[in-house]
Amino acid sequence: MPRAITGPMTSSFEIFDHTADAGIRIRAATLPELIQPATDGLYTCIGELVGSGNTAPFRFERTEAAPDAATLLRDYLQELLVLFETRTRRLSRVQVGEFTSTRIAVAGESQVVDETRSVYYREVKAVTYHELAIREIPGGYEATVIVDI
């Protein structure tokens, strides 16, 4: 049940229980403002990932023919997962160009994860379609994403 919102919604995420896996619940005042906490939520599922220079540009864009903001968000997070697994990189700066029900465009920068200063909790296999949803709530939006551990 969403809390009563008396002012602009603060962007936030929380990790919630999901039997064998992990759920990320994200809240923000607008669709684009969901992106940063969703990014942070994914990384929190993996561990405490400390970036260490070696900055590189990042870009992700996708368009859906039919309105499906939740799938676009999922696709973006899956891209971050692949970036981490294949390049050991995490985003250090996130700049949302666009996030609507049919298009997502995120730019920014990534950094190599410093494994000497980072702590890994668990391996995330995938960002799933399970219970994937973005819904309007008083004051903004709430997104739910389940990751497969």
């Binding site: 990790i15 919630f16 229980d17 999901h18 039997t19 064998a20 896996d21 992990a22 759920g23 993996i46 561990g47 899956q78 692949v82 697994e85 294949t86 050991t88 494994e115 702590v119 890994y120 909790y121 668990r122 391996e123 296999k125 995938a126 799933t128 379609y129 399970h130 497969d148 551990i149």
Partner: protein, 487 residues
């Protein structure tokens, strides 16, 4: 999370419950859940029976949509789900019926060592296994395969790493399900992203519920069958649980994306879009099957390399070659896979596409696919429990062929979420509690032991007893952990 199941569950007998096909529109067959009275109460606590009903809506599904007693909520299919479709009747293949970790599975290696031989060196053994077997996030394998070699490995399966790299024994191949190779795998259908994720991970354990465990056979339920497997009370064994790593996860991801609009193309209506699927004989279905086969073969190579590392470590610690330690592979099973297998359907032999999602093949005595060694006793079925209590070795029985498409359970099933398990660990040392139970544990992830603690899992005996009583797979031996490494 999911609410409780409130639909029908009609008792068939002491070990089976039916969801009638009249329960929801679109069900072609009944659902059948294997469980006794004690388990069924817990099963209704989530909506996994709803998923059994949903799977019954898949085109071409034959006889019934099944679930094993370790049933719990999954993606599309429940964990513990088994479903067979007939390709000639428009039967489909669904990646949700395999899972992200394609060919996640288990293998068991026996030894001649007794618990008394091992206990004085158990700490050293576990420490050396932890050092020698790559596990945890970001840990790469001992071999970095190049792209062309990965293609060969995905085509040939575990025999490739045995014959080309000497990472195992020829005899390992015979006692691996499918001889460690799905025929007609298509490595060219594995994406570059999947190759990037997996190229450094062949021969790595992973994390989460994956493990390598040193175990003692502490109870034998069937001496004749145990003897055929080389198991005796008091002997030590090694169990490995792992799968296709990042390569397999990405193959599933790629195909889920590619198949998003496929059901609509073929006029397939699904009660749950996570049951995304394609007719087996369609271009899309064949593409998934080819890629899945390649990922499955990668997983067999993965477990084969870790077998070699386990043998090397034992040889190092006990200062004796693994051959002299009798470290033969008992068997290797896949518990996330879809395979084409012949079954009797209304008196005719029909080639069916059998999905096992957290379910293990369990062929009975006499089955022609079994190696000679097991043809008279039935296929070993390896069922991990938890790292504090025990795991089980079963063997397939005739009931599996008539009732469950040659399938049995795959594990204990979680009873506690990861978050709840971590909260329940506050103020406790799981490491010390395991030590008090006689288990030396090493884990790489910060929360691994807490999330995977014994209390987080059901007691596996409650699962295996149902299938023993139902004539699907019978108990052969119980194995108690004395050492475990986790990622």
């Amino acid at each position: 999370m999911s609410e409780k199941y409130t639909g029908p569950l009609e008792r068939i007998d002491a070990n089976r419950w039916r969801i009638p096909k009249s329960y929801k529109p679109g069900m072609h067959v009944d659902g059948v859940i294997y469980a006794d009275d004690a388990l069924v109460a817990a099963i209704k606590e989530d909506k996994s029976p709803e998923q059994v009903a949903n799977v019954a809506c898949l085109p071409g599904i034959v006889k019934y949509s099944l679930a094993m007693p370790d049933i719990h909520w999954g993606y599309g299919f429940c964990i513990g789900g088994v479903a067979a479709t007939d390709p000639l009747q428009g039967g489909v293949i669904s990646p949700g019926g395999v899972g992200y970790d394609i060919n996640c599975g288990v293998r068991l290696i026996r030894t001649n060592l007794t618990a008394e031989d091992v206990r004085p060196r158990i700490r050293q053994l576990v420490d050396r296994l932890f050092a020698n077997v790559p596990c945890g996030v970001g840990k790469g394998g001992i071999i970095k395969f190049k792209k062309n070699e990965l293609a060969t490995l995905m085509e040939e399966g575990s025999r490739y790493v045995v014959r080309k790299h000497g990472l195992g024994w020829e005899s390992d191949i015979e006692v691996t399900e499918a001889h460690g190779c799905i025929a007609n795998a298509q490595p060219d259908l594995v994406s570059d992203t999947a190759l990037e994720r997996g190229k450094d991970q062949c021969g790595t354990l992973g994390s989460g519920n994956h493990f390598m465990e040193v175990q003692v056979v502490d109870q034998v339920d069937d001496e004749k069958v145990a003897a055929a497997m080389g198991l005796e009370e008091g002997l030590v064994a090694v169990m490995i649980h792992s799968g296709s790593r990042g390569l397999g996860y990405q193959v599933c991801e790629d195909n889920l994306k590619d198949l998003r609009d496929t059901p609509r193309k073929y006029g397939i209506e699904l009660p749950d879009k996570q049951l995304v699927c394609a007719p087996v004989h369609s271009n899309e279905g064949q593409r998934y099957i080819g890629a899945m086969g390649a990922a499955a073969n990668f997983a067999w190579c993965n477990r084969q390399i870790m077998t070699h590392l386990a043998r090397q470590t034992f040889a190092e610690v006990f200062e004796s070659p693994a051959e002299r330690l009798g470290m033969h592979l008992v068997y290797d099973v896949a518990h996330n896979i879809a395979k084409m297998e012949p079954y009797d359907v209304d008196g005719k032999q029909v080639e069916l596409c059998v999905h096992r999602k957290g379910a293990t093949r369990a062929f009975p005595p006499g089955h022609p696919e079994l190696p000679e060694r097991y043809r008279h006793v039935g296929q070993p079925v390896l069922v991990p429990g938890d790292m504090g209590r025990y795991s089980y070795v079963l063997c397939g029985q005739p009931g599996s062929m008539s009732d469950t498409f040659g399938s049995s359970c795959h594990g204990a099933g979680r009873r506690m979420s990861r978050g709840a398990a971590v909260r329940a660990s506050k103020g406790r040392s799981i490491l010390k509690e395991l030590l008090d139970r006689g288990v030396i544990a090493r884990a790489r992830g910060r929360t691994g032991l807490e999330e995977e603690q014994p209390d987080a899992y059901k007691d596996v005996i409650s699962v295996v007893n149902v299938l023993d009583a139902a004539g699907i797979s019978k108990k052969v031996a119980r194995l108690k952990p004395i050492g475990v490494i986790k990622g």
